[in-house]
Amino acid sequence: MILLTAEALTMRFGGLVAVNDFNLHIEKGEIVGLIGPNGAGKTTVFNMIAGYYTPSEGVIRFRDSVISGLKANRITKAGIARTFQNIRLFSELSVIENVMIGYHCRIRSSFFGATLRLPLYRREEKMMVDGAMKLLREVGLEEVARERSTSLPYGKQRRLELARALATGPQLLLLDEPAAGMNPNETQELLELILRLRTDYDLTVLLIEHDMKFVMEICERIKVLDYGTTIAEGTPHEIQNNPRVIEAYLGEVQRA
């Protein structure tokens, strides 16, 4: 079953074409990688899917309904959650609160019900706390649940962001450079974590990553962008041997 389709997405900022004629189909349960040199337009694609940009042209469909043009919070509610390239936690809130917020968009209690702590809200609050604790256990952060989120070390902040995204109950998870800044050990743990979460939570994953070893190991399918255009698509093995990809990356090495 096809979960997400993007057809002929183009994004222009003034005169600059950040993404040009981008097409993507993701099957349910897949892990798809989006790679390419810096400034290739990967995050722009994410921002279009997650509702931060409205594509200049093209349509995005998620489970048969058009989502391009919807606001970010509506898209999250529809079942697409994301993490950010530069971790964006709610700094002054505790670790568990950061995760509980993920449930907020799904509670049925009204503003008044929550303020007056009516029985429905109390049940839902318990659900939020229990759910958040369960997710924190999944990502190994239950010990630090009461601490301030920004006091955590980098790797744990990444995992917290992942837990927060899961709390919104997504079917599709967009991970923007999840392994950035991690050491090989942490990267390996993250890889196992993502694979485990996919099975346990029935997830589909689209990720951007620069760590090629990680990408090649975790992704079933990879799409390569350069200058906003798709230059290659295929299995990790095909991508590794694709001359255009090699050229794009070598070019980057030379440019740098």
């Binding site: 931060y52 919070n73 999250t76 950010f84 964006r88 809130l93 907020h104 929550a114 303020t115 702590r117």
Partner: protein, 349 residues
């Protein structure tokens, strides 16, 4: 959940009872002057805590409280004045029907003040929250001016520049402090609920908040409308305390005072707003001598009107430069914190 929940509940009830006893004592033994200051404190607590909800908790820096307080004050005053009083006051143009014949009890008028102000806040929110940051500040400041201009010109509703006189002095310590406690209780609960968490999330990172499914616009509207509701009630209390209101009472000056309070207390901290409201109200009284002539026995120093505000302005600038987080930052008082500090009782959570 917190194992000390029951104990904390008892402590809260005890604290409220203590406050009631103190008020009773002040009411029977305090001078008129003391009682007036205490009333002012309570009203400023209501105004500051609700202003803090939108500026501190939700992080949307706005400058409209004078507009809300004005709407609340006029609404409740117009509702409690008797038809006869209105006929006497409205000398240029008669008061419009049905306002001219309505007269309701104080409590009803306060509730109406809250609802009417909340309604205006809701309408204002639509254009206001299309913008952010500095623009939000200016647009909301503009609303304050617009409300004042309207109050000056709608002769048949507000009696224009003449204002309303002879409003019954219904506001006493029980009303002001009772409503202050209720306001703090409700707003604190709201802030602790997941709606409050969502508001804080918007403050820290609006894009990330949207990414976890929070409708930022709608939650800002909730905070703004709630804030308006309580500002309106505060306005109603104020009108029935000073008994005379006119458009000049609700200038940006009022907003400025509230801004000092919430900034000094720490943007986002309810406890801070309460402490600073008391401090600033009391301090304002204590500094009143600066504006008034001083008699030093042999000679007299003429008062310098404005000196007090010079000092307050300097305090605000100094807080911003040297102590940006105010007294409490975003921290809050809790019984657990207190018992921890005192090192007594309480089971660990």
């Amino acid at each position: 959940m917190d194992p000390n929940h029951r104990r904390n509940q008892l402590l809260s009830i005890g604290g409220t009872a203590l406050l009631a006893a103190l008020l009773y004592a002040a009411n029977s033994a305090g001078s008129d002057y003391t009682i007036r200051i205490l009333n002012n404190c309570a009203i400023f607590i209501i105004l500051a805590v609700s202003y803090n909800l939108i500026n501190g908790v939700t992080g949307q820096f706005s400058l409209e409280p004078n507009a809300f307080v004005a709407i609340g004050a006029y609404t409740s005053a117009l509702l409690t004045l008797t038809p006869m009083e209105k006929e006497i006051s409205f000398i240029i143009e008669p008061c419009i029907w049905p306002l001219s014949v309505i007269s309701v009890p104080f409590a009803v008028s306060l509730l109406a003040a809250g609802i009417v102000t909340a309604f205006f806040g809701f309408l204002m929110g639509f254009p206001v929250f299309r913008v952010r940051g500095d623009y939000l500040a200016i647009v909301t400041l503009g609303f304050g001016e617009v409300v004042r201009v309207i109050a000056n010109n709608t002769q048949s509703i507000t009696n224009g520049p003449l204002g309303l006189k002879g409003i019954a002095d219904h506001t006493n310590l029980w009303w002001s402090w009772g409503l202050a406690v209720l306001t703090v209780f409700l707003i604190a609960r709201m802030v602790r609920s997941s709606y409050g968490m969502a508001m804080k999330a918007i403050k820290y990172d609006e894009a990330a908040a949207e990414a976890v499914g929070i409708n930022a616009f709608w939650h800002k509207m909730l905070a703004f409308t709630t804030s308006a509701f309580f500002e309106g009630i505060g306005g109603g209390l104020l009108a029935h305390l000073i008994t005379t209101i006119s458009p000049t009472l609700f200038t940006f000056f009022l907003t400025f005072n509230l801004l000092i309070i919430i900034v000094a207390g720490g943007l986002g901290s309810i406890t801070g707003s309460i402490l600073a409201a008391i401090l600033v109200t009391w301090g304002g009284e204590a500094l009143r001598f600066l504006d008034e002539p001083m008699d030093l026995g042999l000679f007299e120093i003429p008062g310098i009107p404005g000196m007090r505000m010079v000092i307050f302005s300097l305090i605000l600038i100094f807080i911003m430069i040297f102590a940006r987080h105010g007294i409490l930052g975003t921290r809050e008082f809790s019984w657990n914190w207190l018992s921890g500090k005192l090192g007594i009782g309480g089971r660990p959570r």
